[in-house]
């Protein structure tokens, strides 16, 4: 299927990406696609290249070969803020909140539609954005903490705040890198619900290790191993796959 013939069939198309760190191939000719509004979970053992893949999509890491297109537009190696403005936003593994800003301001910065500097010379937040921030505060359960400085949040709260920030950008594609790290079972389950509520409007790519969480998400799973594509399918299919079990529990057979 070529992009030329049809209106963009995929939201995201990763095509043969290779990332080389001084001779070590963190990602090796990896391809995948993602539809609009779809949820996808990316799993794989440590060092499989999952985070690096996100880095490459978002423009933090330069790819040596291959091509990333988004909405049928080539975004390979654009500056990161340009990629974000086209509608991709990412939550990092360690929470990337802005410590000396309040929770509300963190979200407001993310929610601001017009990110050009001269549009910032106003005091209040635009009404639509303020409404959006309030919605998200409710959604991520931080309404009561709105005036707290982000630095003073608990770990799980920071995770939610960052998910909230990513959502607030209204990006079409959200990349969530380990959104439940450091959360308890209840929080994890809430996070799964939160992610479900985002679907349709956003496509979401989740990286996580917590299989109960992945199960709860109930989405298609892509398995990576040593920078390569390994398997793709439902949670049950992946679970049943001997090759996947092997990379997790034992040796991949020669």
């Amino acid at each position: 299927m070529t992009a030329d013939a049809h209106p963009a069939p995929y939201l995201l198309k990763v095509d043969g990406i290779t990332v080389d760190f001084d001779g070590f191939k963190a990602i090796d000719n990896f391809s995948m696609t993602l539809d609009r509004g779809q949820l996808r979970v990316l799993i794989g053992p440590n060092g499989a290249g999952k985070s690096t893949l996100c880095d490459t999509i978002i423009g933090r890491v330069q790819s040596a070969a291959g091509r990333v297109s988004f909405n049928d537009e080539d975004i390979t190696n654009l500056p990161e803020y340009e990629i974000v403005r086209r509608g991709i936003c990412r939550k990092f593994q360690t929470p990337g909140v802005l410590p000396s800003l309040s929770v509300r301001d963190n979200l407001a910065v993310a929610a601001q539609k017009d990110r050009r500097w001269w549009r910032g010379f106003g005091r209040g937040v635009r009404k639509a954005e303020a409404v959006r921030v309030d919605e998200i505060l409710e959604q991520v359960g931080l309404a009561a903490r709105a005036t707290t400085l982000a630095a003073d949040l608990a770990h799980g709260e920071k995770q939610w705040l960052e998910i909230g920030m990513v959502v607030a950008t209204e990006a079409e594609l959200l990349l969530l890198d380990e959104p439940t790290a450091g959360m308890g079972p209840n929080e994890t389950s809430k996070t799964a619900k939160l992610i479900h509520s985002l679907l349709g409007k956003h496509a979401v790519l989740v990286i996580d290790h917590d299989m109960s969480f992945v199960e709860e998400l109930g989405a298609k799973v892509t398995v990576m191993h040593q920078g390569k594509f390994l398997k793709q399918g439902s949670v049950a299919q992946v679970r049943a796959d001997p090759e996947v079990a092997a990379v997790y529990l034992g040796r991949a057979k020669e």
Binding site: P45, H155, G156, Y248, L249
Partner: protein
């Protein structure tokens, strides 16, 4: 049995987010303990806390009878803890031999005289490959070679306790065999006590005599590999 490492109610945190909760751990001399659990449950942090590169927020760590909680990493290394971290952390711009030589620093205080004598032969004996490539820069080595180097470097300091964080991660299977074999010799021939973080349960079971399962920063299960089977804990680790 004599206790080599004892952790009492150790907690650790990155900034304000706690990652380890109330860890109690006893490791007897000569033992081998496998830490297992899914990614992100705190195994790596636990090793880092033992090494001292991550500060314990509370609790006490005793090593070889002494309270080392307040000690800096290099003091713990000199006390006899060797560390093979996740991602190997070889000094990429140093040659293999130089990497191994840095490991000798841990001998300061215990055997300063040995520092000048260069890399001990038994390391090349364990990892013959390293002898062949001793003048190459570590940065250009394959993952397996780097891993052998990282282990060799830790052993150069003649540790009493060796901490290994996923030593077989991302390494070709044939090299994995060599590394496993070498680690067994480290245990048996050198008498080094080992704490290993390991994803692969079959290796964990064949290598360690005890296992600990971590989940969300807490130790949820402990036992001996002789009594419990790997299948009993697979659901705690598996996809």
């Amino acid at each position: 049995m004599e206790t080599l490492l004892k952790m009492e109610a150790v907690t650790a945190a990155y900034g304000q987010s706690q990652v380890l909760w109330d860890i109690d751990l006893d490791i007897h001399k000569g033992g081998a303990v496998a830490l297992i659990g899914r990614n992100g449950v705190g195994k790596t942090t636990l090793l880092r806390t033992i090494m001292g590169v991550q500060k314990a927020a509370s609790g006490v760590i005793r090593f070889n009878g002494a309270d080392v909680t307040a000690q800096k990493p290099h003091e713990r290394a000199r006390g006899g803890i060797g560390f093979v971290p996740q991602g190997r952390h070889v000094f990429a711009h140093l040659s293999v031999e130089e990497n191994l030589t840095t490991g000798l620093s841990a001998l300061a205080g215990r055997g300063r005289g040995l520092i000048g004598q260069g890399v001990p032969d038994h390391i090349f004996d364990l990892f013959p490959k390293l002898a062949q490539i001793r003048h190459r820069k570590a940065g250009v080595l394959s993952g397996g070679e780097q891993q052998q180097l990282a282990i060799g470097r830790a052993l150069a300091g003649q540790p009493k306790l060796l901490l290994l964080d996923e030593p077989t991660e991302g390494i070709q299977p044939n090299v994995v065999q060599q590394i496993e074999e070498a680690l067994r010799r480290v245990r048996t021939e050198l008498g080094v006590t080992i704490v290993i973080v390991e994803q692969y349960l079959d290796f964990a079971w064949s290598f360690a005599d005890e296992y600990c399962v971590l989940m969300r920063g807490r130790m949820i299960r402990r036992g001996t590999t002789a009594q419990d089977s790997a299948a009993d804990v697979a659901h705690l680790v598996n996809v």
